[in-house]
Symmetry: C2
């Protein structure tokens, strides 16, 4: 059994917890939190909740620690800190800061003989893998990534900060016509507006100026100004009833040409459609928990990404079994 710890018990922590329950070679040995542990109720029967401080004494009890904090401030500090004691997996997703995060975690993990995977999930994660494979197979081509339809937490939060807004759920929606044009292999160029639209469901405070809120949303730089955005004002009950899930998804498409005269076009496409973004992300992370555990046992230390890990390490089956049943 691989003994797993979860640090951080928000949506992602819960997603990791239910993914562990689907993998019979793993057990959840504890949930760690910066809150008062007595205030946290975990789903899995018998799993203790500890304060973060307990992590300094539990290196012998945990094979892999999954860090479920945020990328802005939590993970840049936590992942290097815990990589000196634990094999660690995180889902760090601030693309621009990945090189720096990788270097910090690599140094810590190598010093301690630990194995870590950063930036694990679906983007970065499975989408990155599909970009890499398709780029290597079709070097003469072009990549496209479409996100959605799904809830963007960052955009929802941005709208919530507008004066007069009580709650918001923002959906990112890929433009069908753009995806179809890509699939035809013609390698079109798109503006931001042509690839995705945005749809906001907003609960306003009583008496708020709805026209002003709508205008502030649609003109918000970076978040909305470059997109066609639709705003719907709804009640709290409608929000609760129709928008309580966290669905997401998206597509990575690469088209490229081969042949002595570039006469043949190929389309490679990876699509995901998820009822629950955090549960799918947690499921990817848990597959990489297994890989980290095994690679550490083999002495492969340091910081890794999904690019550095042979697919066989993710599977509970033996090499013979996967060759017989999945090849």
């Amino acid at each position: 059994m691989i003994r797993v710890g979860i640090f951080g018990y928000g949506n992602l922590g819960k997603g990791v917890e239910c993914a562990i329950a689907k993998n019979s070679d793993m057990e959840l040995v504890g949930v760690f939190t910066r809150r008062d542990p007595s205030s946290v109720q975990v789903h899995t029967a018998g799993v203790p909740v500890y304060h973060e401080d307990a992590l300094k004494d539990m290196a012998n009890d945990i094979d892999v620690l999954v860090l479920c904090g945020g990328s802005a401030t939590d993970l840049p500090e936590q992942t290097p800190k815990y990589a000196v004691m634990y094999n660690v997996v995180d889902s760090f997703d601030t693309h621009a800061r990945i090189p720096e995060h990788f270097a910090n975690v690599d140094e810590a993990a190598k010093k301690a003989g630990k194995t870590c995977v950063i930036s694990c999930g679906w983007d970065p994660g499975m989408f990155s893998l599909n970009r890499l494979y398709a780029n290597c197979i079709l070097p003469d081509g072009k990549d496209y990534t479409f996100w959605g339809k799904g809830v963007s937490q960052g955009h929802s939060d941005a709208v919530r900060r507008i004066d007069g807004v009580k709650d918001c759920r923002q959906y990112t929606i890929p433009v069908d016509a753009a995806m179809q044009a890509v699939r035809e292999g013609k390698q079109p160029e798109f503006t931001t507006r042509e690839k995705h639209t945005r749809e906001c469901f907003v609960v306003a405070e009583e008496g708020a100026d709805l026209a002003r809120i709508e205008s502030e949303i649609k003109n918000m730089p970076n978040y909305f100004a470059d997109y066609d955005t639709t705003v719907h004002f709804i009640t709290e009950e409608e929000m609760q009833r129709d928008h309580s899930g966290l669905p997401h998804g998206g597509s990575v498409i690469r088209t490229g040409v081969t042949g002595f005269h570039d006469e043949n076009t190929h389309v490679v496409e990876y699509n995901i459609k998820l009822d629950s973004n955090p549960e799918f992300t947690g499921s990817v992370i848990v597959a990489y928990v297994r890989a980290v555990y095994r690679m550490n046992q083999e002495g492969q230390n340091g910081c890794k990404t999904v690019f550095d890990i042979a697919p066989a390490y993710l599977s509970p089956l033996s090499g013979e079994e996967i060759r017989a049943h999945l090849l």
Copy 2:
């Protein structure tokens, strides 16, 4: 530069040749054939054609040898034979005999300190990878593979062996309604007939009994009897004009559930649409040529499959570059 040799110059050998031309870190040093070398004309200027016999003296001139023979009789003999002298990549695709082929190649390669990849292409190959990744992420789920629309060489050959048939091109076509049902996540069970249909374009000999030919095709065990098959009789000119390409494609779809009550469904789908089956297969092989070359330099010997190879080995870019641009 990675110096590559191609043994076997049919459709796949030519596909590998044009893939090498798309990769600036590789050069084609020779094409090897069992035919009279003077009868073989290669596309790439200046590339010599050798008889197979020359391979016994060229171990110092070739970094990776790509074997482009058939799986029925060529590769079971050739891959172990050449694995004692060369790093080798093949596209062995007789699923039932992979364990035996793997063992033979592994023994030969390990003895000689060589690195080999077998069963490289898209199925087995990229489809296998997508089955493995999706199985590891969603252990509670179900896999579906659909092939086509595309030309099946085996089925075309089977029809050509019927008395009175001069030529045939057989297309395998996935049933749209079946794919849609899978995408809904309900994990349907299908009969063979419900997943794919078959369409044959046949050039008959003059005066042949077309009704008999059509009946022999439709009732051929294993190949057609379990499918809804359509037969079209066409002229040689129509065959040449409309059916000279080798398009193919297909989809690997896995759907699975997560959540403490299995309440969330996820769909993971990988689709390819290829103008040229052998050129795409050759492009996959060439990406793995790079991996084999590097793994051999690192001392990772023996027989590998796509499951055993970390994705980063396929890329001409450095770890820093792929983390910065593709993660």
